[in-house]
């Protein structure tokens, strides 16, 4: 059974169908929901059918694609990819539901873009061939470009251009790196790349090529400035997918490409990535504190939280190679992965919350709100829950990844752990100050007083995100167990020098 192909092509073909038959807005909506739900349902067997003791890559598919280049249509997933794919299909359902009311203009095209994006994202996580990965990696820019460009805010042209050129620039470097590796090995399989002997010099060049591609995607400081602009202009659904899934491609790339292909260079330049991660946590935290636009604030908060992902991934190198503590390294990478999944839920939920308010008052400015809890008590309860998850409160998913990364970092460098732990203070400061100004207090103005509490569809979206946040927060073991074999394999690979 070609489950992975199905998961990629069902939403893409579904997008075509929505375009073809979705002249009526409601037809487009229901059809998209059916496709998204079916895709989500089909992604569940990935998790349940995954055999932890089995081979590293499962649900493998391979077809010759461009024989002359030995490029294959090769798919396969391990626990890490499965977790991200399920996150993608789950979030996509919620995005379709969440866009139900707010998008009333060119509905079929919007829904089709979303579904196509979903298929491409699954493709990114499922590809085991570098060229195929690259095609999906670049391909997903197009629907996002359309989503922001057509349904975006007033400065959408600037934002889309910045978003496109920024990310495209990074991936060009990555493409050069992939071509070099192809010349070296004669194929495009990621496994072959991982086993190719590479000198320290070659690895260093490749490392920076990958860094350019993935750091922009994550995004890491200082190449993060496209993100706040893109978020501010994007419609709610676009922001949710962007924050919840697309940023994860960067972290995933570091794990799939940088660590196995250039382990020695990764070790040599880990200090650089760690330093940039810590800057993201602290510097960006302070920048988030002073934002006046809620979406910008959460966008900056995303950058800060993704700092923990890159920190967890690169702290692993010192643990394996210097301290001989592979278990500590596993803790770091697991922490990075859990942080990615958690950030998917939390940022998706927070952007949905902002969308809920935006749909009512058509402003994202903090000063236009105040005392929302008075008119929307249930919404306020959800917002406070997600805010707490954003602060990393134990019992929510936000805590798990950060906790694991801090534990792991302390095992090799207490100083790094100390700087990372500043997030406890800073994230609480910017998140709860936002809550204080928007949710609590006297009713800010007459418009706020007239805001209606959540409708059924908004309940479903926020409720589903809340379930995810609490499930991972209270019992993360199923998630970490799913990813454990893959993480173990990565760490074992890291132990072997290539040069």
């Amino acid at each position: 059974m070609h489950l992975l192909s199905l998961l990629i092509w069902l939403p893409i073909l579904g997008a075509v169908a929505v375009l073809a038959f979705g002249r009526q807005a409601n037809t487009a909506r229901w059809l998209s929901l059916a496709v998204a739900l079916a895709t989500f349902a089909l992604s569940i067997p990935l998790w349940t059918g995954y055999v932890p003791a089995g081979p590293a890559m499962q649900f493998v598919e391979q077809l010759a694609w461009i024989p002359a280049l030995k490029a294959n249509y090769a798919l396969g997933v391990d626990g890490i990819a499965i977790a991200l794919i399920v996150l993608t299909t789950f979030t996509s359902v919620l995005v379709v539901i969440g866009s139900w009311g707010p998008i009333d203009n060119r509905v079929s095209q919007y829904m089709a873009s979303m579904l196509a994006l979903e298929g491409l994202l699954v493709g990114v996580f499922a590809a085991t061939d570098a060229l195929l990965f690259y095609v999906f990696f670049e391909g997903m820019l197009i629907p996002m470009f359309i989503i922001i460009g057509i349904w975006g805010g007033p400065r959408r042209v600037y934002a889309t251009l910045k978003f496109f050129i920024y990310t495209f620039l990074g991936s060009i470097f990555m493409l050069v790196g992939l071509i070099y590796l192809h010349m070296k090995t004669g194929e495009f399989s990621l496994a072959a790349f991982a086993h190719a002997p590479l000198s320290t010099r070659e690895q260093a060049w490749l490392f920076f090529a990958f860094l350019a591609g993935f750091a922009i995607k994550v995004p890491m400081w200082p190449v993060h400035t496209w993100l706040p602009d893109a978020h501010v202009e994007a419609p709610t659904g676009g922001s949710v997918i962007l924050a919840a899934i697309m940023l994860k491609v960067g972290g995933y790339g570091f794990i799939r490409f940088s660590l196995p292909i250039t382990p020695d260079a990764s070790q040599e330049y880990a200090w650089l990535v760690i330093a940039l991660s810590l800057i993201a946590v602290i510097y960006i935290g302070y920048v988030a504190l002073v934002q006046e636009d809620m979406k910008k604030l959460i966008a900056y908060s995303s950058v800060a939280h993704m700092g923990f992902v890159t920190l967890g991934i690169f702290i692993a190198l010192a643990l394996v190679r210097v301290d001989g503590n592979p278990d500590g390294a596993r803790l770091g990478i697991q922490g990075a992965m859990v942080q990615m999944i958690s950030h998917g839920f939390v940022s998706g939920a927070l952007f949905s919350c902002i969308g809920v308010m935006y749909d009512r008052l058509h402003t994202r400015m903090i000063k236009d709100y105040g005392g929302v809890a008075n008119s929307m008590p249930w919404f306020a309860a959800f917002a406070v829950l997600f805010a707490m998850a954003n602060c990393g409160l134990p019992g929510t998913s936000g805590f798990v990844g950060e906790f694991m990364v801090i534990l792991s970092a302390f095992q090799t460098s207490p100083l790094v752990a100390l700087l990372a732990a500043f997030t406890l203070i800073i994230s609480a400061a910017y998140t709860l100050w936002l809550v204080k100004r928007v949710i609590f207090g006297e009713v800010g103005n007459d418009k706020v007083a007239k805001m209606k509490d959540l409708d059924a569809r908004e309940w479903i979206v926020l409720g589903a995100f809340a379930l995810g946040v609490l499930a991972v927060g209270i019992y993360p073991k199923p998630l970490t167990d799913l990813m454990e074999p893959a993480v173990l394999q990565i760490v074992q690979q890291l132990g072997l020098a290539k040069a």
């Binding site: 400035t225 134990p394 906790f403 095992q411 752990a417 609480a428 970490t480």
Partner: protein
């Protein structure tokens, strides 16, 4: 009989069930349902906690230690959720659930007219669940979970009246200051993992007996090996400083009085703020390994004990006096920990929970009677209106001041003597602080009683010119109070209903008796057993135990000791000033203006933090944003490079003008340049 997992689960989950029902189904169950389900849950929890205590103390039950489920397992690193219940835990469980039950009952009366009735019950039941998870944990992960969960509920409850600007300022402040503590705490936990490779209490405490554990070092800055024991213990204690409001992280607790009074009693006096004390006592096997860390604990505690107490003397808000008193008493507990008298700290925690909850609830009763007036300058003479509150408040204050025979006497005297016995660095400073603190405690305690219950009535009853406000009976809404002139009541004050006075009476009983009945075994009888571990040479309580000949002897001995006379002096001064010569206080204020200013402004610590951390943080953020992101990265690099491309294109476009004579002219220029260059090269060599 051994303790069972089911029993302990029931204790924890009963309040959680109540919280969920009252919170999510608040409209379905209504007021009575919400109060009923949470009170039933907490009552069940309380009864079972007493049963657990009974089993551990008399029933011969062994310490319970079992995991419920594994939270994560990565390599040899694992984290669990599980319970460890020994006598220390059982004592905490009883204190938490008993005080919580009293507060639940009290809340029926206190919050009767509030719109958020169900929400309030949901929160306090959730708090009980979180606090139980904290004390019953068998590992550091769950400890941190409970630690943050009580912080969350505290945040929600301080900001319970979320329309009030002062309340939502206070809850944000409380959360952030606590987060500073948690910052240390989480590093301490990470350090424990580095030190012992485990987060399990049992494994960690077993490993502390290895002599190598005490001498292990880590280089945080290359070339500077520091003791792991000291770093870990100080980090953990920073967590305790946040939660237990020790100087300099004490600033949040007085502001937390913005919350409704029942939670001031439950969370900000009896239980949550003592979590730090409990935690350090629980970690006694770790702290015993670092003399430096214990000295740090001692000095911080002593400073808190004296200097926050002094602020209490100049406060006029009845709740704030009690709040500063709480800070000061937390300092006493910390001092006990600092001299390795962990049992003394925990013992004071217990007695304090009873009498301080009593004082807060009594203050709340007064506040209800005064129609939400909290300023003691507008009270006075209330004793004839509310005799039960008056008498129970007196009992609580006598206990707080350390009157021989009362609960507070036994616990506080033991701490003072333990400090006197200790030879730790800083012990003499601490001894001075705790001694002076006794005088201060008596001074503000009796000042509160006199200003509230005795002397002339300083309020006016009657409608008068404020009859217009008669219709505004929703006393909890802050905006309603604005129109009231202070000291004007529409009705005369009256004693509170039985749901309020019953908890006062039930708390007054242990405030008087619990010391007498328990000091022998708990403090000097090795009652805590293996739960608290003290090194032989640090064991000041054992030294004191040699001189302990029963509670009666200690009581009689107490009358001959300095602390009693200091307390008596405080009582005498308070009586002289605030009972007989009310004018003197104002004269003293004038005469000692500089000192008064220092205390009334709380040493300007709030202002300092506001300027440095709050405004400084915002300024830094703005600088990084406008300067770094907008200025350098976007301005110079991103948009700068696009602008450069555009400029370059402009130049190139100008070159390609399309006019033939431009190109011809350029060719001629080029030819001349070329020939000239050749000429220069060939002739320059000559």
């Amino acid at each position: 009989m051994a303790l069972s997992k089911t029993l302990l689960l029931a204790i924890v989950l009963a309040p959680l069930f109540g919280a969920v029902v009252a919170g999510l189904f608040r409209n379905q169950v209504g007021r009575v349902g919400a109060a009923g389900v949470t009170i039933a849950g907490v009552a069940l929890s309380c009864v079972l906690s007493f049963y657990v205590l009974y089993q551990l103390a008399w029933g011969g039950a062994a310490t319970f230690n079992e995991n419920l489920y594994t939270w994560f397992q990565v390599g040899h690193y694992s984290a669990h959720v599980g319970f460890m219940v020994d006598r220390l835990t059982a004592m905490m469980m009883v204190v938490v659930t008993f005080v919580s039950l009293m507060v639940h009952i009290y809340t029926i009366g206190y919050m009767a007219e509030d719109d958020g009735f169900q929400r309030f019950f949901s929160y306090i039941a959730l708090f009980t669940f979180s606090m139980l998870m904290l004390v019953m944990s068998n590992n550091f992960l769950q400890l941190f979970f409970g630690w943050e969960a009580v912080g969350l509920v505290s945040y929600l409850l301080i900001g319970f009246w979320f329309k009030r600007p002062s309340a939502i300022f206070a809850n944000l402040k409380a959360f952030l200051v606590n987060r500073v503590g948690d910052f240390g705490f989480i590093l301490g936990i990470a350090g424990v993992l580095l030190w012992f490779g485990s987060l399990d209490y049992a494994q960690v405490f077993a490993a502390t007996t290895d002599p190598a554990a005490a001498t292990r070092t880590v280089e945080i800055f290359a070339g500077h090996p520091w003791s792991v024991a000291t770093i870990v213990c100080i980090c953990l204690f920073i967590g305790a400083m946040g939660k237990s409001a020790q100087v300099p992280l004490h600033v949040w607790l007085p502001d937390s009085m913005e919350g409704p009074t029942p939670i001031s009693a439950l969370i900000h006096a009896a239980t949550m703020v003592t979590a730090g004390i409990f935690m350090v006592a629980r970690m006694s096997p770790l702290f015993e390994l670092s003399e430096t860390a214990l000295t740090f604990v001692l000095v911080i505690g002593a400073t808190t004990a004296l200097f926050t107490g002094l602020i209490g003397v100049v406060q006029n808000d009845i709740k704030r006096v009690v709040a500063y008193s709480t800070l000061s008493q937390l300092g006493y507990m910390t001092v006990a920990l600092g001299v390795s008298a962990y049992a003394g700290g925990v013992y004071h925690l217990m007695t304090h929970a009873f009498f301080k909850a009593l004082l807060f609830l009594g203050a709340g009763s007064v506040i209800v009677a005064m129609h939400h007036e909290q300023d003691m300058r507008y009270m006075g003479g209330l004793r004839k209106y509310m005799p039960i509150t008056w008498i129970t408040m007196w009992l609580g204050s006598l206990a707080l001041a350390g009157t021989p025979g009362f609960a507070g006497f036994y616990s506080k005297d033991a701490i003072i003597e333990a400090v006197g016995e200790s030879h730790r660095a800083g012990a003499s400073y601490a001894y001075f602080c705790v001694m002076a603190g006794v005088f201060v405690t008596a001074l503000y305690s009796f000042r509160l009683l006199y200003m509230t219950f005795h002397g002339k009535e300083r309020f006016v009853v009657g409608h008068g010119k404020h009859a217009a406000h008669q219709g505004n009976d929703d006393e909890h809404a802050p905006q309603e109070e604005v129109g009231h002139e202070p000291g004007h009541l529409d009705h005369p004050p009256h004693e509170s209903p039985w749901v309020i006075t019953l908890p006062l009476v039930l708390l007054a009983i242990p405030s008087v008796l619990v010391g007498w009945t328990t000091i022998g075994p708990m403090l000097f009888g090795d009652w805590f057993g293996a739960a608290i571990r003290v090194s032989e040479h640090n064991d000041v309580l054992r030294e004191l135990g040699h001189e302990f000949h029963g509670p009666l002897a200690m009581l009689l001995h107490g009358f001959t000791q300095a602390p009693f006379w200091l307390a008596f002096a405080g009582f005498a001064v308070a009586t002289w000033i605030w009972l007989f010569n009310p004018g003197i206080a104002d004269k003293a204020k004038q005469a000692l203006r500089p000192l008064y200013n220092v205390l009334a402004n709380k040493y300007w610590v709030d202002e300092l933090y506001q300027a440095v951390f709050a405004r400084g943080g915002v300024a830094l953020g703005r600088g990084l944003w406008k300067g770094g992101d907008v200025g350098v990265i976007d301005g110079a690099l991103v948009n700068g490079s696009t602008a450069a491309v555009a400029r370059f294109a402009q130049v190139v476009r100008w070159l390609q003008s399309g006019y033939l004579y431009h190109y011809a002219f350029a060719m001629i220029l080029g030819l001349i340049a070329l020939l000239g260059g050749v000429w220069w090269v060939t002739h320059a060599t000559l």
